[in-house]
Symmetry: C2
Subunit: 408 residues, 2 copies
């Protein structure tokens, strides 16, 4: 079987996530591409540091060594900063490699140039990971909305800012405390300027603008404001009006020009962004045929970002294929469920002496109970007329007064 | 320029939406496909009825006439019922046409057979419109999540049921009243059985199962329950617990088998489904690398469903293309905005005699005001230290006590 040889530039959170996913999903690559995917080299800063990679992988701090490999098909870049990254990727394209990047700052500055260079060299550029982490917003715009005319894109594109705003509201913390929390959780860099001053979201907005509208506004015309002016007082005032602060990038066409703004705005309960909390990202795409579509998901992190790069890897390698080859999926959501664990249920029509644990008689004849599905199915078989409904996801135990539970 | 000739089967809401979109988006088709798309024929029931279509379109109630057209490349089917639809589509494939369908009942029953037949005949099948209207969930699963192993899919897949449940809760209406409202709005058929008994969501779940897991559960093993057992009393009881009823299809792999259920469940405020209201649809996809992604959008309607079929039309016609050819997008979100219309703003640091309309002093030094962006920018230029935030989307005027507005 032929092999696709990959180099990964950078072995931080994202680079390591890509490496580990290529190892763990070998079977899927083979099924989809008909080829094996192998990591041939990893570009690192410090050669002394011990890393858990296969022995046949070239670990080097010299990019030229990677370029000189006898076979190299794809270069996956997970570094930061514009340079030397841009130079590396130009050289990779020149060598005939497809490139994949997660570097929004570099790509916002040089994406156009890289795409043109790639075209000349007949290779592809994957950049799904530059915007909204694991949410496939770029491919949705490029592949799935080809005829729709996009009129407006709005996005919560910076997970760090959204996390800070969420913490400030939920925990009544100051901006400084919430920023520190973000840093402790690994969501914000030691120098958080890019996130909290809106630069990160700005770069992402420019990348989206090019995809959706084929052009960008003049960068100096874009209103860019971070979240540093949002105080606890402002958040409290907004809450009184049933509004929440969200840091939103918006790109639209107005008066014949593409217009963009990246700034904190207020949203009400009816807006999908109201409910996007913590490090989640979300993007609303308004287009003329379909209307508004919202995509929501993890905006950052080792595996979400790796996921975007890995799916790009398939995209750049794949010749047009029809149906997806599905690997017999062996992921299980729960090995031992089968209806035996205790869950909460809203039940109507329970008679006395049912033997179930009632947490609350919510209203006449309607009880909140705790039971396994198995026991409840059994009970319903014996007492027709009972109807019961499970609660999806986590139950807020604060609402449930479990102390008062009785067996009825 | 060469031409792609299309036949549309059925000229109801969806069929007409497809026809009108092909006319209105001719430029986009040409840009993306390099070919013109022309509707050559429409299959209708009643030839006497007057319809607004171009004179060169063959209107016929005889499918054989369509099959005998000298050129026919794609058949787009927007009828209901399994038959004669399935027979028509088999014949279309046999003639070498790509097919596109929105018919979930037919496709859940015969999709596998059609896909196999299409493979033999070297044509493609588009069926994005069978699930979740305009939300590109099928292509997202097929094209964008090729390496991710999907473990669980949950969806609000029936807009009619979701509309009824929303109406019952918001307007304190009975099931019967809400169903009638759905029928008056055109969301429910005269015979609503397919929607309210969960058959429609069941068919969609089976289609998703095949895409995500490569197989379906035995249909008789699937728990299928509609929303007819949900009474106003149950909805009120759920509200007391801060829960909402949603009709949810879930498909997962458990104990080596694919397991599915389609039934009303309860969701809390933290669940993205809690906020999916009215005829909206939403799908959560849980997969191993990226985690949970949520797609939300219009689940039905003339143009959302047409959008899915139109994007499928590109998909089935397109040979592998690299970058999207972007037609210079001319959709404007607002011709006359430019910051001149009145909006609501939360403002901090306003001094007295600013001359702005204050609706509420929310807390000390923080006001809710009404102003145009232009005026506010001007004011901020004169009084540095003012910071102001716009409110995205509609403002709930009930919260704003506009009567009490004063000029400060």
């Amino acid at each position: 079987m032929s092999v696709i040889k990959v180099a990964i530039l950078g072995f931080g959170t994202v680079g390591e996530g890509v490496y580990r996913t290529i190892q763990s999903h070998a079977e899927e690559f083979t099924a989809v591409l008909g080829k094996k995917v192998e990591v041939a080299a990893i570009l690192i800063k410090n050669k002394q540091k011990k890393r858990e990679v296969r022995e046949d992988v070239l670990l080097t701090s010299d990019f030229e060594e990677i370029l000189e490999l006898p076979q190299l098909d794809v270069v996956i870049e997970a570094i930061v900063d514009k340079e030397p990254t841009f130079t590396y990727l130009k050289k990779a394209i020149g060598r005939g490699c497809h490139i994949i990047t997660a570097n929004k700052e570099m790509f916002a500055h040089y994406g156009k140039e890289l795409l043109e260079l790639a075209k000349v060299n007949n290779v592809s550029v994957g950049y799904e990971a530059t915007v909204a982490g694991g949410i496939p917003v770029i491919q949705t715009l490029r592949q799935l909305l080809k005829i729709n005319r996009v009129s407006l894109i709005q996005g919560i594109l910076n997970g760090t800012s959204n996390f800070i705003l969420t913490e400030m509201r939920e925990k009544k913390q100051s901006f400084a405390e919430s920023l520190q929390q973000a840093q402790e959780n690994g969501y914000a860099e030691a120098d958080p300027t890019n996130d909290i001053e809106g630069f990160d979201a700005f770069y992402k907005a420019m990348i989206l603008s090019r995809i959706a509208f084929g052009e960008e506004p003049d960068w100096q015309d874009v209103e860019r404001q971070g979240i540093t002016s949002i105080t606890s007082e402002l958040i409290t005032a907004a809450e009184k009006l049933e509004l929440r602060f969200k840091h939103v990038a918006s790109i639209s066409r107005e008066g014949g020009r593409v217009v963009a703004a990246v700034k904190p705005v207020l949203v009400g309960n009816e807006n999908p962004f109201y409910h996007v909390e913590g490090v989640e990202n979300a993007v609303n795409v308004h287009s003329d045929i379909v209307g508004r579509i919202t995509l929501q998901g993890p905006g950052a992190g080792m595996f979400p970002t790796a996921s975007a790069m890995i799916e790009d890897l398939v995209y750049v390698c794949q010749s047009r294929s029809g149906e997806r080859n599905i690997v017999k999926n062996t992921v299980e959501i729960s090995e031992t469920s089968k209806g035996e664990q205790k869950e909460y249920w809203l039940v109507q029509g329970l008679s006395n002496n049912s033997g179930v644990t009632c947490i609350d008689e919510v209203s006449t004849g309607i009880n909140l109970i705790e039971s396994s599905k198995k026991d409840l199915d059994l009970l319903a078989g014996q007492h027709p007329g009972i109807c019961y409904f499970s609660i999806l996801g986590e139950v807020d135990l604060a609402i449930l007064n479990k102390e008062a539970a009785t067996v009825i």
